[in-house]
Amino acid sequence: MSDGKIFDEMWGHDEQLRGAYHGFHDWFADEDPARLRAKQREAEELFRLTGITFNVYGRAEAEERLIPFDIIPRIISGAEWSKLSRGIEQRVRAINAFLHDIYHNREIVKAGRLPEAMISGNEAYLPQMVGVQPPGGVYTHIVGIDLVRTGPGEFFVLEDNARTPSGVSYMLENRETMLQMFPELFSRNRVRPVQNYPLDLRRSLAACAPSGTSGKPVVAVLTPGIYNSAYYEHAFLADQMGVELVEGHDLRVVDGRVAMRTTRGYTPVDVLYRRVDDDFLDPLNFNPDSALGVPGIMDVYRAGGITIANAPGTGISDDKAIYSYMPDIVEFYTGERPLLQNVPTWRCSDSDDLAYVLDNLADLVVKEVHGSGGYGMLIGPTASKKDIAAFRRKLKARPSNYIAQPTLSLSTVPIFARSGLAPRHVDLRPFVLVSPEGVKITPGGLTRVALKKGSLVVNSSQGGGTKDTWVLEE
């Protein structure tokens, strides 16, 4: 890991300006801070008027909020990126092979590399998917791999998002905003474009259409509706791809196909990019109270009449308990050593691990196995004694609900603070598309940044912001 000293992506461990930042540094040195401050405000106004908002859960009035945007780009060199993307591709291929295996022959269990209970005892495991062959053999059409960095070449996977990863609209809007505000920066630096993502996504989804599809596949995005926290993104992606944005009540099963209600009657859909969780997808097959899904869609799916992206049941591969087995999973299916490291993880379901975790709570990060969004976690080093004691009780009551990891000293990237450039901790979520034509990784991704000094929590729901992420041409 690291010697405890924090790695800054602009200045390294030793205050030496790193290569990728030279062009930016020269530009910044000549800039008037007052002008930049005005630009920062202009960017915020632009986001506000465009309505790039997310809805906050758990508040009385559904409130739309902006995710703060920081104008200082995060810059990754071409060489760093090619190394990273090889690791990401390897991991994503392994995840798809793993999903196919656990819903078919379960070779990995037979080989003794994964306990059976990790599958059948998992909430995200869907027995309805056993033996189902998804069109094109793809389970995870869209993946977001969360990475953190601790040193020049040290990247760790923090989390695999294989259900419905969000945030790609921010990647695109952040770049759009930077292009509008600082065009000169892009003529000085050769930044690889991200703008092709929506068309790549459409192409990738179309390539996964059911084998019987004739003509150009009909693609649609399924959203829970305008009150969902990521609705902006759903509308954005449908718009950019030029496909329909549908809700459950726009769809029904007609003559063995899933069809959408148009002004002239029902039209079959070939590929559904759903942003609705498995449980809500089909009230006949899953949660009977769901009003968000389509009754009978799973039966059409099993009969090969529609592609659902991502496939139902993929959640088992990004579960935090399965996460700790990822190095084994990668090795088992690719026959190679994992190129990307996992963060060492203690499974609290294991009594030895639990004992260690309980003894070292003040130094560890403890997370819920099924949690997300930074909720319900303990960050030992910054937690109060009282918080730790309260968490200890929760942990003892349901140990199998938790995993623990060491606190990594996450890398920092400068933000534009009142006093000028100031380092803040970041993570990175690159976006990956999978189709029978191959794995495609958009050069860049979503950089989330903890705006509070010293904070390690980058989640937008907890006061994190975002940055444009550059990958330079090699």
Binding site: G51, I226, A235, D250, M260, R261, T262, T263
Partner: protein, 313 residues
């Protein structure tokens, strides 16, 4: 195109049109109140009636005062036709149909929502009223301009127009309905200052003073005003104009489809029955009844459009 999207567009533009009409009615009321000599708030009663919100207003207030009427029409959350409620509903529908709108139209709608909500966050003083009304009109005009200038002329645009003109026809008919008695030639004492004020209210409420003078010169009384607002095909808020637009948009939507479109048949019927005679025939039939029947038919046509294009099922 999704039925839901068609419905969302239809309602988005109905609400935008209604917001603008309500603002225009407030402007007319304010103007009349300032230029009239006798005291009292009588004019606000008929303004509230014209906006179709008098009934709900009476549940909230004991008496009609200028302040209460303006606030009710401008900002009341309990009034679904207040400018604020309309802008919020328009924007919510716009969010729902985001993929059918150009970025320019969406941004203009969202900006209208943000700015108007700011302006209407607290009670508007009499001094600030003209400025606030101007801003409302400016923002809704921007959305209309962006719609006109950037949207493809395809079926999306047809539903935009259907919503706009149905709402507009409904508004014009409602204003006439409230004021029909001042337009009856037999009853009105032609030339009194009271009548002049009343007629001006009507013309101002549909932004038609200038147009009316252009069409009819310095003369022109109740028969001409009625004709202008019902049968004139060049006046963009007249019933005949709106119905004409509704018909051409329904025809575009029906192009290449077999069979009869029920809403289009109903519209043709409305046109034949009510709008293809001269103004003398209208008065002969009875202005009040004429307007009542048209309002009723417009309501039926709106419901039929919902069914014909599968807005909800």
């Amino acid at each position: 195109m999704l039925g839901k999207t068609a419905g969302g567009l239809f309602w988005m533009y109905r609400y935008l049109e209604r917001a603008e009409n309500t603002a225009r009615l407030i402007e007319a009321g304010q103007r009349i109140a300032l230029t009239r000599l006798e005291a009292g708030d009588a004019e606000w009663t008929s303004i509230l009636q014209s906006a179709g919100v008098k009934g709900a207003f009476d549940l909230e207030y004991d008496a009609v005062t200028r302040d209460a009427a303006v606030d009710w029409m401008l900002r009341a959350k309990a009034n679904p036709s207040s400018v604020l409620s309309c802008i919020e509903s328009a924007r919510e529908n716009a969010r729902m149909v985001r993929t059918a709108l150009t970025g320019e139209v969406w941004n203009a709608t969202n900006a209208a929502y943000i700015k108007i909500r700011e302006k209407l966050a607290r009670k508007v003083s009499e001094r600030d009223l003209p400025e606030v009304l101007r801003e409302i009109r400016q923002h809704t005009s921007l959305v209309r301009g962006m719609t006109h200038g950037t949207m493809l002329r395809n079926e999306i645009y047809d539903f935009v127009r259907l919503g706009t003109f149905l709402e507009r026809a409904d508004n014009t008919a409602r204003i006439l309905d409230v004021k029909y008695y001042v337009l009856l030639p037999s009853v009105s004492a032609v030339g009194t200052s009271l009548d002049n004020v009343q007629w001006e209210t009507i013309l101002r409420a549909v932004s038609a003073r200038g147009g009316f003078r252009m069409e009819y010169g310095p003369g022109g009384g109740p028969a001409e005003i009625t004709e202008f607002l019902t049968l004139n095909k060049r006046m963009p808020r007249s019933l005949a104009f709106c119905v004409d637009k509704l018909r051409s948009n329904l025809r575009y939507l029906h192009r290449g489809v077999e069979g009869q479109l029920p809403s289009l048949a109903m519209l043709d019927h409305l046109e034949r029955q009510y709008l293809s005679h001269d103004i003398a025939a209208v008065f002969e039939r009875g202005l009040h009844q004429f307007i009542e029947e048209i309002l009723d038919q417009l309501g039926r046509i709106a419901r039929q459009i919902e069914i014909d294009f599968r807005f909800f099922q």
